[in-house]
């Protein structure tokens, strides 16, 4: 009996489920994280308050609780056409965005204030200053923590398995229910996670070296 070969379709489905959750939530979290970070350093106080509230709320709420809210509360408030997958992506990306925001913000703080002042004195707007001057220089410091956050996201996506989204941990639950050796199941699930996380690490290592060369 070979757990993997007997259930390859199931493993593939679970693997793709985890990949899709990670990729989609990661992309949304990156965009959202940068936007919220921009809010947090913006000259407009309401945006700053919103950004601070966003980060405080999402970063300090356990992810499982966010899932409960997304899956159980939001549909009762009218979001009943959203699929479990979409709700899971919503919870994961909002949660991760709070951490990415803080990573980006600390990256922004490593760029000397003079850079922003020079840009502003040339007549650049806030967004231009951020986009053309600050963020490109923050990227290098921000990449390693963001890589770690995306790896954490890949692992956090397992929680979605408890909320009707098929991913690697659903495979584990399904197969152990069928009575397969739990160690072998976990071994293959672990290998599948390693493939995903190694891939993310490799991408970020590549980006880091490319940025290092570009200077």
């Amino acid at each position: 009996m070979n757990v993997l070969l007997d259930n390859f379709a199931l493993f593939r489905e679970g693997f793709l489920g985890t990949v899709e959750l990670t990729a989609l939530s990661g992309a949304i979290a990156l965009v959202l994280g940068v936007v919220i970070a921009a809010f947090r350093v913006s000259p407009v106080p309401p945006l700053r308050y919103f950004g601070a509230a966003w980060v405080t709320l999402l970063r300090n709420t356990p992810l499982t609780l966010l899932f409960f809210i997304a899956v159980l509360v939001l549909p009762r408030l009218g979001m009943n056409t959203w699929s479990f997958f979409q709700l899971a992506v919503l919870a994961l990306s909002c949660y991760t965005s709070a951490f990415i925001c803080e990573a980006v913000r600390s990256g922004i703080n490593t760029v000397s204030l003079g850079q922003a002042e020079a840009a502003r004195s040339l007549g650049m707007t806030f967004t231009q200053t951020l986009r053309l001057i600050i963020l490109p220089q923050a990227t290098r410091t921000v990449l390693p923590p963001i890589g770690s956050l995306l790896i954490a996201l890949a692992k956090n996506s397992a929680i979605a398995g408890g909320f009707s989204v098929f991913e690697l941990f659903s495979v584990q639950k399904t197969l152990s229910e069928q009575g397969y050796n739990i160690f072998l199941i976990f071994l293959w699930v672990a290998i599948a996670y390693l493939i995903i996380t190694f891939f993310i690490s490799a991408v970020f290592r590549f980006l880091e070296t490319r940025l290092a060369v570009a200077r």
């Binding site: 159980l72 909320f163 639950k173 009575g179």
Partner: protein
């Protein structure tokens, strides 16, 4: 959407989170304050007591050797299924039909209640706990099937449950054939949800880690039915007798067995003999009436299979 509704929903979620803590597959009822007797059923029968045998000896059993050395018996059970295997969060005491079965067997092995340690083991860890000797045997909605028999041995069956449906009162679902296009909830990866997914039923599966979430969604109308072994469903139906009910038309056979160390035939025979004697002397029926029987549904004693 008004504010009060939002607040109520948020509160419900917090309450659910609190009650659905570390459990793996099954839901946890929200505690001892909820009246657990099924509405309208006769007064609960008293639990039987079991005569503890003395001078028991087993030869050629690894499990027995370990039990003798420890001077006590460790039994793996569930803790989140009312009337089956349930641990009171306040008193930490275990109760339910599976617990009674566990006690009967222990009594025949020479161990009274004071020499039993119950250990909550989640579904996914059952085989590991048995094979690794963390528990001497396991009693907890453990369906006997060939895949599991490759890793553990069973004594039993001591009960035959069946997959059934839990629905809202007045639901249009009258049997499993009415499930087309309906949302049906069960535990992630469970056999029950697999059957609904793959069979000719055409239901939309919803999978949570806890049955309590399924039941919550059923009451709120987010799902149309909850499915799993009828024994488990009845426990929840008894919690909300005015809102939900079990259809009572099981469409599978789930023979529950006592899980034990693979290949320990001497121990397996002893457990089988213990089950037999308590079935014959009326303890089984008394235990059932005092637990699952409270739901008002009777059950028959299944024939024991000595080759399990």
């Amino acid at each position: 959407m008004n504010l009060r509704k939002t607040a109520a929903a948020a509160f419900a979620v917090v309450a659910l989170t609190a009650s659905a803590t570390a459990c793996g597959k099954s839901g946890s009822p929200s505690g001892s304050t909820t009246p657990s007797a099924a509405g309208g059923s006769s007064a609960a029968a008293a639990l039987p007591t079991y005569a503890v045998k003395t001078g028991v000896k087993l030869s050629g059993s690894k499990t027995w050797d370990r039990i003798e050395k420890n001077g006590k018996i460790t039994i793996g059970v569930k803790a989140d299924q009312p009337n089956l295997g349930f641990q009171d969060p306040a008193t930490k005491k275990y109760s339910g039909f599976d617990i009674e079965i566990a006690k009967m067997v222990a009594a025949d092995l020479g161990f009274g209640e004071d020499k039993i340690t119950f250990k909550t083991i989640q579904s996914a860890n059952r085989e590991t706990a048995i094979a690794g000797g963390q528990v001497d045997y396991y009693v907890g909605t453990y369906t006997i099937n060939p895949e599991r028999q490759k890793q553990v041995s069973f004594a039993g069956p001591y009960f035959v449950a069946g997959q059934d449906l839990l629905v809202k009162k007045g639901s249009s679902i009258k049997s499993k054939d009415d499930l087309k296009g309906k949302k049906v909830c069960s535990a992630t990866g469970s056999t029950s949800i697999q059957r609904i997914k793959n069979g000719p039923y055409g239901a939309k599966p919803v999978e949570y880690d806890a049955y309590s979430l399924c039941v919550d969604n059923l009451i709120s109308g987010q799902v149309d039915a909850v499915t799993t072994d009828d024994a488990i469903l009845k426990g929840f139906a008894a919690k909300y007798p005015d809102q939900i009910q079990v259809l009572g038309k099981p469409f599978s056979e789930e023979p529950y067995g006592v899980g034990l160390l693979k290949g320990d035939t001497a121990f397996q025979d002893a457990v089988t003999a213990a089950l037999k004697s308590h079935e014959d002397n009326g303890d089984w029926k008394k235990a059932y009436d005092a637990t699952l029987g409270k739901s008002g549904v009777t059950a028959a004693i299944p024939p024991l299979d000595s080759s399990s």
